[in-house]
Amino acid sequence: MDHSLGIDWKALKKGEVSMGTTIAAVKYDGGVLLAADSRTTTGAYIANRVTDKLTQIYDNIWCCRSGSAADTQAVADILHYYLQMYEAQNGAPPTVRVAANLAAEMCYSNKDNLSAGLIVAGWDAKSGGEVYSIPLGGSIHKQDIAIGGSGSTYIYGYVDTNFRKDMTREEAIDFLKHAIALAMERDGSSGGVIRMAAIDGKSIDRYFFADADIPAAWNAPASAT
């Protein structure tokens, strides 16, 4: 398996569509913020340049999808089904922890047949905002910030240097916007527009940044440490 970009290229079947991708999610003071680029590729062709890689799997639980578009859509749909059954049978909505563990269970059990890197993030009344990273093998990692997809490799240094705990929502948006922009600039499989979703238990707000609104790193320095 070719690990050079963290994507299992050989796992993609002929004609299959990949989300090369840069995805990220960060916990801020009061909630979580999810962010992603919008490029979906089949080989060198950009099949969709305005993809929405942020998917709702429950009221306040969303996920960022990277890897095979088909695989991650399937997992997200089945996860949505399981979470609805969970609420019906359990009498209470699932927590982010339950949702993330279910996703990891699916990814692990089917690891031979899936190419899916997920970041499950959301807000619940019990634990507030939470971010869980579920990379290719199906392991699960609870983190304050998670990045994923082929573009994420280019921004580890930026994220490590600039991440702070308990940012405000505005600070978090600014931070991830710069991070995703940097990755889009260097990774051929990432690009297009930047989409975000902020979840704080009171509302879910979607953000969209294109063209001039995307910071250009070579023109001005990225936001200071």
């Binding site: 969970y86 049978q89 359990n90 009498g91 209470a92 927590t95 922890r97 339950v98 563990n101 279910l102 269970e105 019990k126």
Partner: protein, 260 residues
Amino acid sequence: MTSIGTGYDLSNSTFSPDGRVFQVEYAGKAVENAGTTIGLRTPTCVVIALEKLITSKLLVPGKNSRIGTVDRHAGVASSGLVPDGKHLLGRARDEAANWRKTYKIPIGVHALADRMASYVQAYTLYSSVRPFGVSAIVGGGSLDDGEGTKLYMIEPSGAYYGYRGCSAGKGRQLAKNELEKLDFDRLTAKEAIAHAARIIHTIHDEAKDKEFELELGYICLDDEMGEDKKGIWQTMSGDELARIDTEAREAAEAADEMEE
């Protein structure tokens, strides 16, 4: 209300003309003639007590416990056919383990009771099996899920309800009368345990039945019984059980004398 189900009572999957499944009702008879089990729930604790009728002097006292633990936060006791109760307990443990494996959190007691009841009900559908000859009392609670304490009783038909106090077995009617006198919301854990033990002693029929052993299990969601015991199902044993047993016997006898 007993009646003969002539012809309609031979098979598990047969309805009688008046809509009864007699095999399930007969399973209930197995429960009615067995040792009593009671359950008690307060806002902070759940207690299960059982009257273990001793069938032989050769049995080792304090062993062969009939109150089982499911995961760390629930206990199950059955009145009726002991092996059936054990099988159901095993199934409950499997369900709890399976839940943990899938969701990585402990199973809620309401979900556990629901699964146990569905399992029991399944055995009333087919003539190739017989219904469970037990009523199972399931108690427990979790600090995490904000739901507090829970107590359920599952009957051989698979019907189950949530209770403040419940009883099964030969002394169930007497136990029910005693339980109805309690103010559940105001009891501390120690009081609840003492009452449960006393009620077992009260309902035990000295004349008809032989010796019995008292068995007690409980879970306390605050630290009244000890910080190390908080939120974990406990089975009482040794000196602590002996002391409570003695106090309960005295309390039951004192109440008997007062009534006379």
